[in-house]
Subunit: 387 residues, 4 copies
């Protein structure tokens, strides 16, 4: 297996998470091609050079067009802000490079589809960064559903609750600006929820949503990185142009009912990315704040000892866990990326598309925009309406 | 304070719960008029006589018209199946008796309003049995919201999950027949959720819902009481004419967003009547399966020790708890009725309407039917449309 | 079945709990003789008369000797402070009355044994009030152990944590005075722990303990009832003559290892009466603050879904629960007494000793005093040393 | 700051954990000297070479004496089986190399003291691997105690529960052989508990313990790594020469009471390394299976909202967390080692001893052996007796 030479655009929150995954892979999951951390790329020369040194990349670059054209890389990793995804991806596809793109795939469904088409025509491998699929507890949920151990699925409940912007004086970071982020809670958090639901239960049939921006103006930031930012509450204010919270209901193609909520205004929730699935034979519950655990219920347990089990998904029976530590020794957020990159490298080695890929990115975007349309038009929207 | 002489129609699940409350009141909360358990009434002579003896009523009767007309009673307690509520209530009001009616107040909004009008014209006291308000942990939630300790409310999430009919061979009990129950999960469980939300956050502005009947036919039962029933899976089957599950979203008059779910198909949930409220200064969470607890979060806790507190609402600082046992000694489901009856007796003594009363019953019914309408017409429905 | 006529000595915390149990029994568990609430007895005429009226007893009395001699009663219920247990019990036995005595049975092992001998010689029925046995979740634990579903027992961990006297200005109530209470946390809380362990795992073989009184002087109270009291922090102080906390380790006769802790200085614990049992095939955990729940683990669950189940012991499959409400509708502290009185009445009807009875009271006292001896002599003490 | 060149002896479970920490440090906590992964050393040439390649070390070696003598390394990391610690450490000290030694420091107190003396005489930096101190939630507990926010400490409860050898056919791995491991649960798990208690509450004054080996013979293994092993249940059996479980009680120098338990026979517990501390102003609780969380209680919270808070120790206010991900994005087991190595590198840069160091290793060993002595002699043993 030859190495896969990576060129990465972006070096902040996601850039750090991806870099760590590339570094960890050969040590913990060495059965796949080794990602070679060739070139890191970002607009700010000082920033990207510092990231290069700190994260362990061989070279730094400031022009992604140059990166995409480089013969030194086989794979382009795109984790720049969302508004940059499309152009980079199209160029990468044109250059015949594999693409690993963070979610959301694009700012619009039209863009996402254009990216998918380009990737397919180029015959490259393409992946989209729905990393939560790769928590072992989520993989266990998938297995239980897929093996029929939960029976027919009746209900899916998904909620992604955060509180990082609940302070009305928190600055107007790029994630709150529609032209860069595309969307607020909906596209950031809801996208993960939609992908998890598709992964676990299947396709959406129709949706209806509602949304709100609770704090309509915020002070301009002086500095921002990851989810944090600095700024004065007395700074000039600008308009928040994305949703603070979006809720929607759905009917799945298989007949299950679903409800979803994404908000950044749920005090006390730092990162509650949670779901519950109820089927005719059992239920599962997951909360990312306790990502090593899956609560599992079976209707056929003996009648005097029925109850949700707290399964600590750290046993050898759980996906990826023999790569890490003994049972009971938990893993963290970053490990989901390591597992994700493992799938990417494995798919490249096996000459197949990784999962999730741009098709999943497009389908997620279809649901996101169907929800937006349902909000704008105050009616149920069928996914097939999205063309 | 003179006793309040009670005549009660119904003697099954709710009849037992109410009887226990009347018995417990003078022992645990003796500061209000004593309810005198005068007459219990039910159609089956043997059944009602057995209940009389077991629950401790003075007399038994089989004709509720006779009961309502009796000069021996001051208050009519109606907990017969829902389709009987209206006629009994109208007759009781006409006879000048106070009324304590189980929820849902009536099968339809029209009926509920007719009952309210009759009660108001008769000048009697009227109460509706939304007992969950009276859990001390719920009272604490109310206090925190009312005192502004959660700040501006952004989100209300309510879900009432059960699994008692998840077996497709469970018999077709009266709660699954529209002509008797009026509605399924929606009217039974959703009604409690709607009342709690109104109590805690305020009025609903507009709603949109969806519902499903997962199991469309069930065997006819041979015997039923409370929520349980007997029957053969090989018995002839009849159609389930109510919803197994209903979900809806709402916008509250105060701008908060709400989502609600009521289902009898959530495996592993025996009686998860739960809610979470997120405000600008804090959050609370409640689950009836742990009814003595309220989880509480405040944004202004010291920055290194922020987290949801598990408050065991059994201290003297919590409503009703000095009537019972020392801190840490929990109470159960039935105590909510004792507290409810305390409010009823107190209101009678103070010559004011108890809370919740028929106005709350009507408003709850407005929301229920607005949701039904939104489902039928597949669109958002404003509560004001309900007339 | 003829009624059992009860005469009760004591009318405070335990008197209220017992009275409620006698009242509830015929309504909820009517398959046993009905306890007739004949006479309530206490030293303070006003206090006992008020209790009589409030709790629903037919007569009040101030002299327990008169009560014991009365031909109106069949059973003497003793829940006066612990120093009064022995004299009343001996007199009751001499008068041929059945006895239901609160724990601890007596202030000393010698006294306890004298009470047992007297009861046995009189041929009466005798019960001791270890009410925690009667929580349905505890009954489930017992069943799992007894049926071998946990396999060979390796570990028992018991802890009873409270914090009601953690404030050093809390008054010097009778429970903190050795001459009345006999012992502090050890006899009050530890006694329950010892009884639960004996009930669930079997007899103790040897013990070694340690104890401490953290606050050595407290202000004298002006008023006290149940676990609460009033008083000024500036009142004169008297010495605390009992333990604030006692810990001990044990080896059980069956080879299991045990550790126990009873304290009133565990901040945040209102009434954590908890245990965990680990066996070769599984484990169980119980915490009285969530008394409707038992956590259960089985080693033979499928390897990918192993985990502690949270069993809500409110199903028909759980002891006593068909007497109360539908699944998921929880019960409270007081219900343990109703179940306890059910066992008492059932035993009387079946002409057998109830369980737990004075033998259990004596055996519990043996362990308590063996622990005391081990503390005094700073060495392991075998239970057989207690004679 | 010049790099610190590391030579490591051992390449299995701990070797992997340490290697990962060295790799992660410059990326996540780059403010300290960079550990240079120079030489990895192990007896099996193939095994160590594979580890070298996989973990990213520059060279591999099979003779630790050669390693210790090498001028290429500044620091010797010892994570070989426990029986090898002493010789390697003495040689490393003699060679003037800093030492990072896994716990337990040595097989005996005598050996541990010899190692400490050698290290002190050599003037090197020495650290012992009590990694659990470095969980941010544990650091928070330490801060709360140290700042007096829990008041006077009354109780410490520590329990380390595992179940990995509960199957009687699990092979006789080296951790079950006294001559290699020195001790069983006591030295492996109890050592962590003792160190945490010393770190959080202070020195031990006296102890008394008990222990048991439940399964006395086991099949010889064919292969073992980390905590897992392979083997046939029909293989010849050898004697288990260490404890399966050890319990002990203690009195701390500050007057607090402590109880400890370490067992590998607690079904359902994969790695419950837990403690609870109760003080006059509050309490904290920790469980390693949820290592990102600390439960915290304060007695001075408002009287209606008192309760244990679940603090997710992932905020910038928590130790080390600004090095990782945004709030709510949890870390795992391995991160404790990264933080530990950060302290080691920082201490080297600041020319001070890291904490914990060999003094802590010796003091932990004193308590371990005092407990052993108390078991052998069936009496309380004061720590000062250990000389």
């Amino acid at each position: 297996m030859s190495n896969v030479r990576v060129g990465m655009v972006g070096y902040k929150f996601m850039g750090k998470a991806h870099s760590n995954a590339y570094r960890a892979l050969p040590m913990f999951l060495p059965d796949v091609p080794r990602p070679e951390m060739k070139i890191i790329c970002g607009r700010d020369p000082q920033g990207v050079e510092q990231a290069r040194a700190q994260f362990g990349w061989q070279h730094a670059m400031t022009d992604w067009r140059e990166l995409v054209a480089s013969s030194e890389v086989d794979l382009i990793d795109i984790n720049a802000p969302s508004d940059a995804h499309k152009d980079i991806a199209l160029a990468a596809a044109a250059a015949g490079k594999h693409i690993f793109c963070e979610k959301p795939l694009a700012l619009t469904l039209t863009d996402a589809r254009e990216m998918l088409t380009a990737a397919e025509q180029a015959g490259i491998k393409h992946m989209v960064g729905f990393n939560y699929r790769f928590a072992p507890a989520v993989q266990l949920a998938k297995k239980l559903v897929a093996d029929g151990r939960l029976g027919q699925i009746y209900h899916y409940r998904g909620w992604f609750l955060q509180d990082w912007i609940i302070d009305p004086d928190f600055p107007l970071v790029w994630r709150l600006q529609k032209e860069i982020a595309g969307s607020g809670s909906h596209g950031d958090l809801g996208a993960h929820q939609i992908d998890l639901a598709r992964y676990l239960v299947g396709e959406f049939d129709e949706v209806i949503g509602m949304s709100e921006t609770f704090v309509k103006e915020r002070p301009m930031p002086t500095e921002m990185t990851g989810l944090s930012a600095k700024g004065s509450k007395d700074a000039p204010r600008g308009p928040v142009t994305v949703d603070d919270a979006t809720l929607f209901m759905t009917r799945f193609a298989n007949g299950a009912l679903g409800s979803f909520e994404a908000t950044r205004f749920a005090a006390g929730h730092r990162c509650t990315n949670a779901f519950e699935i109820n089927g005719s034979k059992g239920s599962v519950r997951f909360d990312f704040e306790r990502l090593n655990e899956l609560e599992v219920y079976f209707t056929d347990d003996a009648e005097d000892v029925q109850g949700f089990r707290r399964v600590l998904a750290t046993d050898p029976a759980h996906a990826y866990m023999d790569a890490w530590w003994p049972p009971g020794h938990t893993i963290g957020y970053e490990h989901t990326f390591t597992h994700e990159v493992h799938e990417l490298m494995k798919a490249i080695a096996e000459d197949r598309q990784p999962s999730p890929n741009f098709v999943d990115g497009v389908k997620c975007q279809e649901v996101l925009e169907a929800v937006d349309k349902s909000i704008a038009e105050r009616r149920w929207v069928e996914i097939t309406e999205m063309g």
